[in-house]
Subunit: 223 residues, 2 copies
């Protein structure tokens, strides 16, 4: 079995991504980050989800708080309500977040001799984030191959993004087929520690809409 | 004055790099990493050097230790002695190190609205490291520009590598011209906390040879 590193936030997308990697027979090593996100519910969920999918799990501490810039990590900035026309880059943007996450995943991959890294980004529902686009992922993959002993000597690193062209609804349909129990996952930026969602923030609205469009029963725990 | 982020280990190369950025009029923000390197002497040196060059200084904690793989961070692996023909990738290699460092520098740069990042890598003396080569740096720069709001909206990130084509001797000559006091810098992998070098490891040997070839007085504190 080939090793793979899966970035696992404990949310809907990354959990679907883990189920996907598992379905392709990878020996999955889940990696989460404790970066000062307001909600600890995600990390609690990630632990349970990794165990459920028989994946190893590491939580990497990362003090991005010291580079305060975002509503996700800065207590002084409120989480914005849902805006229908989300054309500009959202206020919940964390600087260089996926780049940092993927870089640390790359180090972990090299230690595991894993040439495959999975990340659950989607360019469809979150087109405002520069680091969720296919051209960004392709550039990261090219860089990662040049960056590492393993990439240079053994012919390349693969960054897998199975959700990149899927809408939220399509992701839910995919996960549903793969047997994901979405009640385990937490998407809400303001979830309680035990995983109850606000039902009002950007992420909750996109998630609700996704279940409706997918015609899959929404098992999310709303408070 | 334009802001720039300078990766500063406290060694000879990164200190020369900081002096170089300073000479071009950048408002310098030095960034160091506490990643479990055996020698704390480097970080102690970095603090003094940043103050000397009137740069702000941040130390970012990074628990790469949990991905044990390298003689630099693993107590069970001895630091190798100097080998003259250093064609393969050295045992002191830390997985994805420059990629992680540059990614966090990128986040910091975005917060500072800095489009310039300086890193003191050289492809000449350390050609064994994949992440010290010009093609790697070019790939990182391309990725970084696509990764960030600032890169996308304001036209690119620049990764400056003023030492990339310089030998150790040429770096020392450059720093000497820029007024660097190399007694402040620590290169040795096994230096004492107050900065005394072993004089025997790979890094010490390259440094000694560099001063000799540069015909600059070696002011290093050897124990």
């Amino acid at each position: 079995m080939k090793n793979a590193v899966i970035l696992l936030s404990g949310g809907l997308d990354s959990t679907t991504c883990l189920a996907y990697a598992k379905s392709y027979g990878f020996n999955c090593h889940a990696l989460s980050f404790n970066y000062g996100q307001k909600s600890i519910a995600e990390l609690n969920a990630a632990k349970k989800i990794a165990a459920y999918f028989d994946a190893s799990h590491k939580i990497f501490d990362l003090d991005i708080q010291q580079f305060k810039h975002s509503a996700l990590t800065d207590e002084d900035i409120a989480v914005p309500d849902f805006r229908e026309n989300n054309s500009s880059i959202p206020a919940t943007y964390v600087p260089a977040r996926n780049t940092i996450f993927l870089s640390i995943a790359l180090a972990y991959a090299e230690v595991l001799d894993a040439k495959d890294i999975f990340i659950g980004v989607s360019a469809v529902d979150y087109s405002g984030y520069p680091d969720c686009r296919p051209e960004y992922i392709a550039a990261f993959q090219a860089m990662a191959t040049l960056a590492t002993k393993m990439g240079v000597e053994e012919g390349g690193i693969r960054i897998h993004t199975p959700l990149i062209h899927l809408s939220k609804a399509e992701t839910i349909q995919l996960g549903h087929k793969l047997g994901v129990d979405y009640a385990m996952t937490v998407t809400c930026y303001q979830a309680t520690a035990d995983g109850y969602a606000c039902g009002k923030c950007d992420s909750c609205m996109l998630r609700k809409k996704g279940f409706a469009q997918a015609a899959v029963n929404d098992v999310t725990n709303y408070r």
